[in-house]
Symmetry: C3
């Protein structure tokens, strides 16, 4: 593929991920009985919070997601679709989770790459890649009064961290970013699929069990 | 009115709004049994969080609310008044809600105007106006372990968004800011009064009802 | 002591405080049944959130805690130690609370000093010192779905605020920072010890009691 092709592809994948993230925010907002503006707002927050947190932390202000309205428009579309056709979105929750995994993977690798481009230490760049991916989901759960799902289960944070780490490590070793981003994203999606369809889990402390059933 | 008169008026209205916001933070903190420093801190957070979030996002650091101590002093006064005379503040909760609406309106229109002045896209500037208005209330509820009231009910977020949108639209159409800010703020206050006294509500998804009574 | 000695001492104290903060994050994460990555992430958040918030607010980006990986490494060590030896960490909770008080004191005085160095108003610099100290604990509790402990009890926020205020006041009066930082940190640790071992508390509003037992 030529450079413009790749840019277009990345842009499409980014849009798909943003849309899937917005669906997850809107779905939770409806469950929590937010009104339509709360639903749209939470859709927007999930779509942009991770990237916004990263950009604020590396000093890239105004954050990309705020400087342009594309992400906002996609998030509104996702929020409105969920508000109007909630049962359909729930019915499609499995496929939507795949799109969500693609968004997570893309946000994590591009987030780590951007942090590196701003001269951030590779170890921290991997963490910032993770935050780019999971920040939206964390903000969603905190605003909805839930303990962040992404920190508890389902290889969510670790899949994003692995993607960021592969990009950061590749950069240290001089591998071209396109390769490491592709590898990192693939590995992230692989981990999420294993978690969703085969029940892979990260270990929980054996002393957690003393504290009763999962919240 | 002359320019200095308007500046003075804006400054007074800003102080009144800050004070009303501080009362709402302190009231919730007392209900949650925070100690006096928790009460003062929550009063401060409600008074400044929206403006601080906006300023961090548009790159105006240190944020205005942090660069000067006026907002801090007003917030302390509001927090202390609530701590010492909680029953009186509760008794006056209706009038305080009107002051709160005035604060919301002012923060939303000045927030949108400031975002525009920093070159932010008008669509996003409207959202940043909303965030300037509702950010304090969101932070208050999250810190007190509640699902943000502003996202759920009472035309709160949408009133702030409408105010921001009127300012952003007016700027696109070349209308002088003073006019659109006045119109936006008036419309925001109107929506809040309709919500408070006539029970106007934004629609909730019909599928929200399947999830039991409001949290 | 010579200058390098003091720098080394500060660096050691900073590391000890970071480690103690990480233990508190990891302990709560285990109680909440987070998986190992959630545990490490929460340890990291407690260790850095206060300093990160301060640096973002004063415009010192990328924040110190993000620009270097030392804090990250110490937080990972603390998180991992808690994951593997939770009962031991709980057994040592009293000594760990002393280390935590030392971390709180150091973060508050260095935070206030850094804010002053960035030209922030002294009143606000004291508040930013407090935020440097308590920000990690606040973020910890919000992410774990709890009402922030630091706002409710135990002279936590006020000890940090007192430390910041002493530094800010000393700077106004022209006292050398080393003296005020030492005095501020000592007073902060003193207040925490009085709270932990002698039950000192800040006053709660008499109307808080009407709202039932503490949450």
């Amino acid at each position: 593929m030529t450079q413009p092709d790749i840019a277009l592809l990345l842009s499409v994948v980014d849009g798909v991920g943003t849309f899937a993230f917005a669906l997850s925010g809107a779905t939770l907002a409806i469950r929590k009985r937010f009104d339509i503006f709360g639903v749209l707002f939470l859709a927007f927050v999930v779509a942009v919070a991770g990237g916004v947190a990263r950009d604020v932390l590396i000093g890239a202000v105004p954050p990309e997601a705020i400087a342009r309205w594309h992400g906002f428009a996609i998030a509104m579309a996702g929020g409105l679709a969920t508000f109007l056709a909630y049962p359909l979105v729930r019915l499609l929750s499995r496929p939507v989770m795949l799109l969500d995994a693609i968004g997570l993977a893309l946000f994590a690798v591009t987030g780590a790459q951007k942090a590196l481009a701003y001269g951030i230490d590779p170890v921290i760049a991997a963490v910032l890649g993770m935050i780019s991916g999971i920040g939206g989901g964390m903000a969603r759960d905190v605003l909805a009064g839930e303990v962040p799902f992404v920190l508890r289960t389902d290889l969510y944070a670790v899949a994003a961290l692995a993607a960021g780490a592969i990009v950061a490590l590749g950069s240290e070793m001089g591998v071209p970013p396109a390769w490491t981003m592709l590898l990192g994203a693939s590995f992230c999606i692989f981990l999420r699929i294993m978690a969703l369809f085969y029940g892979w889990r990260a270990p929980v402390s054996r002393w957690s069990r003393d504290h009763g059933p999962p919240a």
